[in-house]
Symmetry: C2
Subunit: 212 residues, 2 copies
Amino acid sequence: MAETTRPMRRQEIRRENEKAILLAAEKVFAEAGFGGATMQLIADLAGLPKANLHYYFATKEELYRSVVQNIFEIWLQAANCFDAARGPVDGISAYIDAKMEISRRHPDGSKVWASEVMHGAPVLQDYMESTLREWTDGRVEIIRRWIEEGKMDPVDPRHLLYMLWATTQHYADFGHQIETLNGGKSLSDRQWREAKENIKRVILTGIGAQPA
Amino acid sequence: MAETTRPMRRQEIRRENEKAILLAAEKVFAEAGFGGATMQLIADLAGLPKANLHYYFATKEELYRSVVQNIFEIWLQAANCFDAARGPVDGISAYIDAKMEISRRHPDGSKVWASEVMHGAPVLQDYMESTLREWTDGRVEIIRRWIEEGKMDPVDPRHLLYMLWATTQHYADFGHQIETLNGGKSLSDRQWREAKENIKRVILTGIGAQPA
DNA sequence: CTGAAAGCTGACCATACGGTCAGGATGCAA
DNA sequence: TTGCATCCTGACCGTATGGTCAGCTTTCAG
């Protein structure tokens, strides 16, 4: 990678290698699942000897945990959209945009996250019972208020959230299916825009929050 | 299992053992993924010695293939709802009901299917390019006709289908998350009903197909 | 310049897994 | 009853994988 063999700073080395490993791990875990992934594959993809992986991450479990926590953080960041909003149109639109962008930019991370949850969240159970639950309860409260204020129809907030998660996440997790049905090509910029617009229109109309 | 050691018919034996193996395999593949699943675990769960598995299914791949094809068939059966319908309200309602029932009754199968697609459909690529594509194109055509006939708003049929798939499948694949957010309890009959109603209401309203 | 700490790695190990096989048990048709 | 095809299984094997380690190189503070 580095053309000149300029001496690297310790900190720099650590940062770069960890980043490379995490990126490779994310991809391999996404493609093969935890059980199917091998440290050797991750090492090859990261361009490092396998033993070096164990220098940075003691075990496969530890590496996996780091990958999952990373994507969970990104996932939570999309939450901010909700808070700053004054009504369902703003809030839900922004949230859909944010989550669709995650599906597009971090499909591997999304898959790892989906896999983790599908397998019973062995690593993230704590987070789900604390952070995720708090986040969800907060958002449920916001939606409930919007309903009270007549800004949208009385829809069960939880099922609405599930719908948002499901619909947006689908474009990452089932991306391969979507590509296949798209003639084997990945979605173009325009198609991504159309996807977002369709989702927003259907859901916002569906909850009676369309802006005139 | 059999209390009396009544002699079993050959056919019967075969059928029962294959069924037991497939059921166990579905569960183990769902919980651990293909790579994480072991023939030993499947054998234990099926109550058979490992070697007996290989008598019925030569390889792990072959067993996996059978499991995946099984769920794909169930998945396709839900299609009929669409065909018999006279309009979006009937058709989409029935489809959502059917797919939600699959998520509820076959959560393991749904997870295996999701896993298969997430990992690039190594086994089902053929089916996706033939059967699934045909099915989808047919349904797209039906929806397009509904739009032409003014029975619903002009929504992109493909993205609508993705939304239906995503939303319903979510209750199986992310069932663990939903349970966690439900206080660790699985959804009750009433909650499943509410889920269905919410989804149907939001989507049907969202596409402008609400009946009066 | 020097020594210690950090970074690196080829070779190695124990284990677990998918798969095999020889040979025994069981049903069933004739 | 007999013979044979099907069914079953404990013991075994080769391989791949996660992980270890001794010893090397590189950075860098003092």
